[in-house]
């Protein structure tokens, strides 16, 4: 661990790419992205590792590239985790203030959060994040910081993200296998939202949908705090797979067609347009109807968004997301997906832009890198706490609550 170092690295083991982003925290606390390394991911399906040795090699390649670009040595990373096993839910903790004058001390806050954390998770599950939402003192809701207030009964609402312990261990193991420390694991959906949303947007309420290669993460903010998180184990890979099956082309070709000719909507103008497929084997060239390609693709894209919509419907938070929906991940590159998303979700939808950061323009502008950038941002919040405050209580506070509120 090198907490004193201003170098912060985010590593994302994605289904389509392994990506390392290097950030530097300046003296003024400004985060600057100075390096980016990536390599094609070969052994990850639906966000989870299927071949550890291939993954180790991909990690090494990405790290080496990032090191060269940033001209630093990377010794530890913030690691993004995802997968269909990750779930989020809200929980509430209670604590009675015992001091004679009923003034709430930092210890009370510590205790109430500890109580909220004591959740009945089954043995194989581990908590990834416990995010504080709001405190309430003697029934008075919406209190951001109760320290110094008077009250007898302190309560806190938290959002808990958890996953299966063994499946969370796999990526950590893979990273440690290439002699790199893991500072902390971060749910990738949370990381993306940190990269994309400003404080104002979090206050207004927003939905972030990260459509990755193998998984789609979504996270709902309302009144400045996380209200809902979830993962669907479907993503861009499924679109390619559908195309490969439906158009009877090999997967790499399907992937290429998706990127070059794909769209989330089918227009009447697509009818009759054909694409000539090059053929190396000497067989006659094949043609593919763009209409078919886009029909297959739009159905899958719509389905992914409908599933997200279904989840949001269940939370009853739709009216509280006034800033609208922000899309990121490779899936956000699909042409016209923002229009489809705003139709299905019933709110304005746009492609998310990484903000409040400086550095490599090429990295900041691309939706694929928002997760890795968000990981760096998460790391910067954690490290700022370590730099500015010391002592167990501050460390604890930073850990549980404030990282996402500062951004």
């Amino acid at each position: 661990m090198f907490n004193s170092s201003p170098i912060i690295v985010g590593l994302e083991l994605g289904t389509s790419k392994v990506c390392a982003v290097v950030g530097q925290l300046s003296d003024g606390g400004v985060l600057n992205i100075i390096g980016l390394g990536q390599s094609r991911s070969r052994a990850i399906r639906k966000g989870e590792i299927v071949n550890a040795s291939d993954v180790a090699e991909d990690i090494r390649n990405a790290i080496v590239e990032a090191e060269q670009m940033a001209d630093v040595e990377i010794r530890s990373v913030y690691l993004g985790v995802t997968g269909g096993h990750i779930r989020g839910f809200n929980n509430r903790g209670f604590h009675s203030v015992v001091s004679a004058d009923r003034e709430i001390a930092p210890e009370d806050v510590h205790d109430v959060i500890k109580n909220a954390k004591a959740i009945n998770l089954s043995a194989e599950n581990r908590v990834v994040h416990v995010v504080r939402q709001h405190f309430s003192v003697d029934g008075q809701n919406g209190i951001a910081d109760p320290v110094g207030m008077f009250g007898a009964r302190l309560e806190v609402d938290v959002h808990v993200v958890h996953g299966q312990f063994t499946r969370l261990q796999n990526p950590i193991r893979a990273v440690k296998g290439v002699q790199i420390d893991v500072e902390n694991i971060v749910f990738t959906g949370l990381a993306s939202s940190l990269a994309l949303l400003s404080n104002e947007q979090k206050e207004l309420g927003a939905l972030v949908i990260d459509i990755g290669g193998g998984t789609t993460e979504f996270i709902v903010y309302s009144a400045g705090t996380i209200k809902h998180t979830g993962v669907l184990a479907i993503g861009g890979d499924h679109i390619s797979n559908d195309l490969g099956y439906g158009l009877k082309v090999p997967l790499p070709m399907a992937e290429k067609l998706k990127i070059e000719h794909g769209s989330a909507v089918v227009d009447d103008s697509d009818k009759g347009i054909a694409i000539q497929l090059p053929c190396e084997t000497g067989l006659p060239d094949r043609t593919i109807q763009v209409g078919h390609l886009r029909r297959i693709m739009s159905l899958r894209v719509e389905e992914i968004l409908e599933l997200v919509n279904e989840e949001i419907e269940g939370t009853g938070l739709r009216e509280y997301m006034r800033a609208g929906a922000f899309l990121c991940g490779g899936g956000a590159r699909i042409s016209q997906i923002d229009k489809v998303a705003s139709r299905i979700l019933g709110m304005p939808a746009s492609i998310g832009r990484t903000n409040s950061m400086s550095g490599l323009k090429s990295a900041l502008d691309q939706p694929e890198f928002s997760t890795a950038i968000g990981l760096v941002k998460f790391g910067s919040f954690e490290q700022q706490k370590h730099l500015h405050r010391t002592g167990p209580l501050h460390a604890l506070k930073s850990r549980f609550s404030q990282f996402f509120r500062v951004g």
Partner: protein
């Protein structure tokens, strides 16, 4: 449409003969005997004179008195079949002047397993419709289970319709500590309820009428997976209670049988106070199976049911054809389907007069050639000589289009609401590209 009792046309009352076969059959008919509706006559048949003596039923037939000396068939179905063939005249007289013969038997032993197919054949020869309501033993009964399955296959070949109660399903209701007698009692209880329910379907005139033809349509060719259950409810919330009871019924696998069934016959009986809302609610709740499934419903009103509702469900699932093939190729008309001899004989053989009275024959739907031959093969002949001609050979087919999941073949499937999301969306939604 509702017709008030006094304007209803006079109908021929169906004469029904309920025959209890073997130990379980005798016990059951004994229980049922006292409450039998009008026009239903009961009889019991056994090879063991002691069992027969204990039956309250008046009409008793002891088979093989000479051969077996009234000591039973000793669990040997071949022996049962032999004595039944031997006393064919006796059985025939039992089935004469009857429209419908209901065979009640617990398969697995010697008498029931051996005699039931023979009795069914004889009854059919005598011009009656044959419905067999049988129970299959518990899994732990071992040898009996195997005999029962063999008997069931034979019976399916001989009877018009077979309703089968799997005792094993009753087991789900109980835990380790339940006394064995209770299980047998509750199995019997369910069986009696089912038989009564089925008899009610057949005998009562409903304002949405269901008759034997409907029942046979549901069961024909599907009977290996059929199940039946009757539930009753009374009181203020009887409509809702009835649905709850039906969905919790062990024989219906807690509602699974309903969703999986591809043919369903549901009849609701109530007093004059039954409301249309109740009928609607019950039918809606039970219509859970896929769209293409056959759903036949009936409803009737009877003074006896004042203040309560009774629901009888007969659910059948299409199973692999599970009927004994006739192995006697030399018998008249023996052969495979598609054999022109069978079709012509079937088409030429006139419907026996005695059968047409109670059976509604719908106009034939348009069928493809292959479907036709399959149907002919399934129905078999009506006349006695044609019994063995009804060969059930049918080419099994595997689903040919196996949808590849491509690169997700080996990964953990993403299941959402029972749908495998790894399968392309357009295939799951059945959208054609061209």
């Amino acid at each position: 449409m509702m017709t008030s009792p006094d304007t209803a046309p006079v109908m021929k009352t169906l004469s029904i003969r309920v025959i209890g076969l073997g130990g379980a059959g005798v016990t059951l008919v004994g229980k049922f005997h006292a409450e039998a509706p009008d026009g239903v006559r009961c009889a019991v048949i056994h090879t063991n004179s002691r069992v027969l003596d204990h039956s309250p039923c008046a009409e008793r037939v002891l088979l093989g008195a000479k051969l077996l000396r009234g000591l039973g068939a000793g669990g040997d179905p071949d022996l049962g079949r032999a004595v039944a063939e031997d006393s064919a005249d006796q059985l025939k007289s039992l089935c004469s002047d009857t429209d419908l013969v209901l065979i009640v038997a617990g398969l697995g032993g010697g008498t029931a397993t051996g005699v039931a197919p023979v009795l069914a054949r004889i009854a059919k020869d005598a011009g009656a419709l044959v419905l067999a309501v049988v129970a299959v033993p518990f899994d732990f009964e071992g040898q009996r289970q195997r005999q029962a399955q063999a008997g069931l296959r034979k019976l399916r070949g001989a009877a018009d319709a077979v309703l089968c109660l799997h005792n094993q399903k009753v087991c789900q209701l109980w835990n380790e500590d339940t006394r064995a007698l209770e299980i047998f009692n509750s199995a019997n209880e369910l069986w009696v309820q089912g038989v009564q329910g089925v008899l009610n379907i057949l005998t009562r005139r409903g304002f949405i009428h269901v008759d034997f033809a409907d029942l046979a349509a549901v069961l024909r060719g599907r009977n290996s997976e059929s199940c039946f259950a009757t539930v009753e409810a009374a009181g203020e919330n009887r409509g809702r209670d009835l649905i709850e009871k039906a969905l919790a019924h062990p024989v219906l696998d807690r509602g699974h049988a309903l969703t999986e069934a591809d043919a369903l016959l549901v009849t609701l009986m109530g007093g004059p106070d039954m409301t249309i809302g109740e009928v609607n609610r019950v039918m809606d709740a039970l219509r859970r199976q896929p769209e293409d499934a056959q759903f036949i419903m009936g409803a009737s009103i009877s003074e006896e049911f004042a203040g309560r509702l009774s629901l009888t469900v007969v659910a059948a699932k299409h199973a692999v054809q599970d009927v004994d093939q006739p192995n006697d190729k030399n018998s008249p008309g023996g052969g495979r389907p598609g054999d022109p001899q069978i079709e012509t004989q079937f088409l030429q053989s006139p419907e026996p007069e005695s059968l047409s009275a109670s059976r509604f024959v719908p106009p034939p739907p348009e069928l493809t050639e292959s479907k036709k031959s399959e149907l002919f093969a399934r129905q078999g002949g009506r006349g006695g000589k044609m019994r063995k001609a009804g060969s059930r050979w049918r080419q099994g087919q595997l689903p040919l289009e196996i949808i590849s999941k491509g690169r997700f073949e080996k990964s953990q499937p993403t299941i959402h609401h029972g749908e495998d999301l790894d399968v392309p969306t357009y295939i799951r939604r059945g959208i054609k590209l061209n």
